[in-house]
Symmetry: C2
Subunit: 694 residues, 2 copies
């Protein structure tokens, strides 16, 4: 047990450093000058708007979580009428802790991001270097808060209960929040974006961030709630899920030694430390390329992780090299997935340029070529996940029974180890995006806007990479959740005195039944979210039209006349949450139905089908969205006819289709998959006891 | 063996009736008047163009088939150096027979369709009833030829070799042809359609079927080679595959009795007879609604099949009611899938109207809502396939080991039993579509064009239904192909003295590896086809521009000046075959790679992933394409602003995206899946012998 205690100490220490460093970075950001009154005013509006959304979101979540908590208390891990109530209480508390910690991290991230945006805008007056640093460090606070609280929470649950199964409750809590934050935030951000574009750019022909547009603040709020809070919650969720499933298996394998559990914590702690080092060292180099700065800090974090974990494996007893290999493979494949995503979405590479060129024949060809390349772009990542899972399995198989699946779980832990760095990169995007808008609204001049544009463009490219990474990591994680599900089911089956499952055979009709239905769910889920954006945007467009009609002087931009920004924020908020709930319920109800009809085996198939089609669609939609966005930017940079040309109009259509693809539906599929996986694990004992064909 | 001989006799008898009836219908069609010289001329151009394409296609196919035949001769069912050469010769001959019979059926279908189109155009002058009958009966010749030659071929192979495994060779032959006919024809038809629309409607503002447009004949040829020959080959392929896999299992279950084999043939023969009755009775009723006429003959065929098979099961020894139930469930679910497809694609139903309404906000919203409803529309069919497979399995499980999978195969046979009727309905579409064009080119007057329009619109609606049906049937068929693959692999494993497979466990990493990669293939395959259409259309647009530039008087429509239609047909032909081959090879090479890396288990997973994502994407693309097409028609009928409005422009964009979705990529996925399944079955002994991780 010595190694385990040492590792707990190291983990705790790295959490403390992470929090301390986050506080330092936050104070550093706040120390940066913010003087322009106009900018401060708008920035405060954005901050207030984001708070409005999050308060409402958390209120609805609280009700949902309350219902879920009562159900967990009664039913899980086993119905209270069947015996001990203590495990149920632990599970419930863990669930609530999962939602609360994730919510807290999101709240902190938003706070800092909305302070960093105005400072980055003013920093851009001084040049690329200081502005980059403000944007990046503002994002890093979110990254550190997420990973630190994740590690702290997992550690606390395990130290208090000594039962890794309780972590599934914690993980389910994180998933509940992620569903609201990512999918709700995704609907919010695209509602505002679409409505602002339709009324502003298309109808009135005013610039993107013109303050006359009542949706402009909502649009900027959307970037924060969608990309900062949403993406953070998504990766918090994946990270917790990866650790939870690895720890469930580790505990089963450990027997007395604790070496495997120690290894999971050790690697997670090293990942956090590596991210801290990477964040501390990130700078724009001499050539002044922010994309390169973001990428190279990711690569150096990766190298540091691989070296430090090798050192730990060398020094610590019971740490296996094969498992180290699995985690390294996971991380390397994650980075490769990121690079191939970049190939498909970077406007200096041929694919984006081809789509831009096709746009000359009209919007149908923008769409067709974008969908086609989006489909093709999903293959490398699918192959990458397949290869890393197979390699991790085969590497760890010789260690004994159960180790092969543990290897896959550790590949996921490895892939997610640098998640602190990934979130920092990702949260950088909306901060500098906001900064660009603020620079325009504050009238900081063309040169400053150019600097902000440069920073923003880097944010877009890196965002595609981190999204590919996040989806890949979620893919590997859910494979290990499948393993976690099977062990949960077997505990339930053993208690019920039924035959244990040894796997899920495709040729079993219940499994096949589950697979087909499971594969349909992500398609329907993402469709419901996209239709939700559409409906909600229509509501907001109506409100904008009303304001232009009823507020005298607004359209002309008369001095002192202000749009009612709050109304738009309220519409986006209410609509987002209203449209989200049916989609989430659909996924959960389908799971429950399949479970009660086909039993535990059908659920195994259901999860598989869900993972496979979910991965495919998530990769397709994220990448297609990214490539449309950048091919529009490529044309706006003066290619294929430039701004205002027919090709540009077609590219704008592509971008409008791509927006809900990449910011609402695509990345929300991740959370749909984890929610469904965890619901399955949590209800496994019920499915084992009662089902029609099981 | 008595029942088997009786059934052979009945099958042979029904094939004779089918052929005789086809000849009668063909002669009947030819007896209908064709007097308008202009129409005859154009119709002959279409006929010649279709022949050009098919000759080239068959030439390329012959080379491909030659290579495949040599490989089969050397390697299959087992390498010739390992023993008997006779089975390899049978397999090779069966393969060649499969390609030849399917090719012949396609040739006949095209011949009749290109004779029926001009007669239907002139028939439209007399009214709806006679024109409908010409269109429908012209299509029925194709339906009868396909199903008759399919049944005859399967019977001949089995009677000569007495070995159902040889049927896999026959089935592979049918699949090879289907790949060329469906995917190649699909690229051809959309190349011509897109190029004709872009240059004609968009650039010049001339009507759809204006003879000045050099692509107009190619466009009409495309309808025939894509929908008549292509769809026929696709359903020939599915039908053969369903029968082959059912017969492989039946033979293994039969022992001495032959009852199961008899049952397969008996049901197939009854399906053919039911289709003949349905075709003979099809008429437009008093209310004169052609859609209803097509649908009601489908329903009556379904009823006749269910009743006749019940009678056969009652009277014949060894016919099991449970298996009858499985086939009935398959057929009923097929019809239900057709009806739900109709719900999503019929312009009198809400979905199409919602998409039309969304088009008012611009093309991005046409696309977004169409994609969303397309995604949602895939779920009912997925659930239907899942439910029918589960029900068939559970129904037949009590009959003994192996019967459960046989039940699924019989559900597929049941679903495909009325395929004669389905093909007739489907081939009706392009005939009346052509007729509409001919009526316009021949100047037959507005009333005739209105009649032709009515017939055409019915063809569009029914096409969506038959496509849903075809995809559903293919889905069930490939499940049984998965079973066929497993028995093939086990024969090979037994010979190699290795452990037999009892199934494919998702938790096995090689299986999982295969699943992920298999799921990516249909996306890449369809993307390659769509990009191929795009590239090819650009070549044709360049040629059209050249003709307008170089042929004096063409643009103005000067008397006696003719476009060089052949050039466009040649471009479409060459391009289609050139773009198709990489996509087909990609799928086959991926199969071979996965097989040699992961072994037979990985291939099991690969097939599953391929089926699941293939079904999802095929349903999504076919339905989305159908709904865009019909929402454009709905707007053109005067809704949401009518023709020429912004909504109409947006709907045209949707339709242009939807065309390659529904006519190229979506339905070609079926053949990609069967090709991959059969390659896997054929190479199973190689994968069992040599693989990296297997």
């Amino acid at each position: 047990m010595e190694a385990l205690q040492l590792v707990y100490a190291v983990s705790f220490f790295s959490v403390i450093i992470a929090f301390a460093f986050a506080v330092y970075l936050h104070l550093w950001v706040r120390r940066q000058p913010a003087r322009n009154e106009k900018i401060i005013e708008v920035s405060e509006l954005i901050h207030a708007g984001a708070n409005t959304f999050m308060r409402r979101e958390y209120l609805i979540l609280a009700r949902f979580a309350g219902v879920a908590a009562v159900l967990i208390l009664i039913l899980l891990p086993s119905p209270i009428w069947e015996g001990d109530v203590l495990p149920n209480i632990s599970m419930t508390i863990a669930y609530l802790a999962g939602t609360a910690l994730s919510a807290l991290a999101g709240k902190i991230g938003i706070l800092v991001a909305t302070q960093a945006n105005s400072r980055a805008a003013e920093g851009a007056q001084q040049g690329l270097k200081p502005a980059f640093l403000i944007g990046f460090r503002g994002g890093a606070v979110m990254g550190l808060a997420v990973v630190g609280s994740c590690l702290l929470g997992v550690m606390a649950v395990l130290m208090i209960t000594a039962d890794a199964t309780v972590l599934l409750g914690f993980s389910f809590g994180a998933s509940s929040l992620a569903l609201f934050a990512k999918a709700g935030g995704g609907i919010f951000t695209k509602t505002a974006d679409v409505a602002a574009d339709l009324t502003g750019k298309v109808e009135l022909g005013i610039p993107e961030d013109d303050p006359r547009n009542p949706a402009v603040i909502a649009d900027n709020v959307g970037d924060n709630v969608g990309d900062v809070a949403g993406m953070g919650a998504d990766l918090f969720d994946s990270n917790v899920a990866a650790m939870a499933s690895a720890l469930v298996m580790a505990q089963a394998l450990d027997g007395g030694s604790g070496a495997n559990t120690a290894m999971v914590f050790c690697y997670a702690a090293i990942g956090l430390l590596a991210s801290i080092i990477g964040i501390a060292c990130a700078r724009v180099g001499k050539n002044g390329n922010p994309t390169q700065a973001l990428n190279s800090s990711t690569y150096s974090t990766t190298m540091i992780f691989i070296l430090l974990t090798a050192a730990a494996t060398w020094f610590l007893d019971g740490f296996e090299w094969r498992i180290w290999g699995a985690s390294a493979v996971g991380l390397v494949v994650g980075v490769i997935i990121g690079i191939t995503t970049d190939y498909f979405t970077d406007d200096s590479k041929p694919i984006v340029q081809k789509v831009a060129h096709a746009s000359q024949s009209g919007p149908a060809f923008t769409i067709l070529s974008g969908i086609s390349y989006g489909f093709i772009s999903s293959l490398p990542a699918m192959v990458g996940i397949a290869v890393s899972a197979l390699t991790a399995y085969k590497l760890c198989e010789p260690l004994g029974e159960g180790y092969a699946l543990f290897g896959i779980a550790m590949a996921a832990v490895g892939m997610l180890s640098i998640v602190g760095m990934i979130i920092s990169n990702d949260a950088y995007g909306p901060i500098v995006d906001n900064a660009r808008g603020l620079a325009e609204m504050g009238g900081l001049g063309e040169e400053t806007i150019w600097v902000a544009d440069e920073l923003d463009s880097a944010g877009n490219t890196v965002k595609a990479v981190t999204k590919g990474f996040a989806i890949g990591a979620a893919g590997l994680t859910v494979i290990s959740l499948l393993g976690a599900y099977m062990s949960e089911v077997n505990v339930a089956l053993a208690e019920a005195g039924k035959e244990l499952l040894t796997g899920f055979d495709i040729m079993e009709p219940t499994v096949f039944f589950g697979i087909l239905i499971g594969a349909g769910i992500p398609a329907v889920f993402s469709a419901m979210l996209m239709l939700g954006v559409d409906k909600n945007a229509q509501r907001m467009v109506a409100e904008i039209h009303r304001q232009f009609r009823e507020i005298a002087g607004l359209r002309e931009g008369r001095e002192g006349v202000k749009a009612d920004y709050d109304k738009c924020i309220n519409i986006a908020t209410e609509g987002a949450l209203k449209e989200l709930i049916p989609a989430g319920l659909m996924a959960i109800i389908a799971t429950v139905l399949v479970g009660f009809i086909g039993g535990p085996e059908a659920i195994g198939g259901f999860l598989l089908g869900n993972i496979v089609s979910g991965l495919l669609l998530a990769l397709f939609m994220s990448n297609a969205g990214g490539l449309w966005d950048n091919s529009k930017k490529y044309i706006e940079a003066g290619n294929e006819g430039g701004k205002g040309s027919e090709a540009h109009k077609a590219a704008v259509t592509g971008d409008t289709v791509g927006d809900p693809f990449k910011d609402t539906a695509g990345p929300s599929i991740n959370t749909q998959i984890t929610v469904v996986s965890l619901v399955s694990s949590l209800l496994s004992s019920l499915f084992a006891a009662l089902s029609l064909f099981g």
